[in-house]
């Protein structure tokens, strides 16, 4: 499955557009609960635990989006975008969306 955030893939052309696909995850980010992060909040620096949480969420959201594309029998997802938003009660949503297409090799 080809996944890009451009609307083209060099050497290939779009044979069929399957439609919009997306995946999202919501994660709780209550930093106050985490002691190590609490210390970092006093002195500053990277919150590695939260970066890892973010990476996991992003991977999960993207794999859900790719699963949707596979269901539609697409072989690529183009123009992928991310959107993050703070939901109430200290949670944040990561939303990944793109267009699932069927790509074929460019003739000639």
């Amino acid at each position: 499955m080809i996944v890009v955030n451009t609307d083209f893939v060099p050497g290939k052309r779009i044979a069929e557009v399957k439609g919009l696909v997306s995946g999202n995850t919501v994660r709780a980010k209550h930093v106050g609960r985490d002691i190590a992060a609490g210390l970092k909040n006093i002195v500053g620096g990277e919150l590695k635990g939260y970066t890892e949480l973010l990476t996991e969420s992003r991977r999960e959201a993207m794999s859900r989006m790719i699963a949707q594309a596979q269901e539609l029998q697409a072989n690529a997802v183009l123009n992928v975008r991310f959107s993050t938003s703070n939901v109430a009660a200290g949670a944040a949503e990561l939303y990944a969306y793109g267009t699932a297409v069927v790509l074929v090799d460019e003739a000639g």
Binding site: N5, D7, V31, G44, L54, S83, G90
Partner: protein, 159 residues
Amino acid sequence: MDHDTENWIDLLFNIGIPLFLLVLTYFTGRVIERRHFQALDREEKALSGIRLTDLGRLPPGTRVRGGTMVQGEVVIACDYYRVFAGSLKNLFGGRIRSFETLLERARREATVRMLHEARRAGANYVGNLRMETCSVGGKQDGNPSGVEAIVYGTAFTLE
């Protein structure tokens, strides 16, 4: 407990400790930030061979092959002093430089990580750059505990 001791304890907890934290985190914050900026300068120099644009289309005359999505992300904490300085600025208005540097560090760090992933994929051109930032944690109506940045694009190999 007699009155004097109570007063001293009061003073210690209400003024002494916050003041100590402010002074401590002012200095630790500056050191951490300076080191981070130096590291960023080094990394960006090492990765300067990779062309970076936010163009959706390839620049005219460019031929590429490949095409894989790359991304980098980071979450950076606000320290005690930064939050205090920010609240003070909120009273009087104006640029909050302490938060400006925080956001700049987050974006540049996320970009550097994305470029590392592009390099690992053997790419030398990253296009369609997009950036997302978000505040992390903290009380609902209080100051954020940190800021997160996601930077993503598509990596190609120039022919």
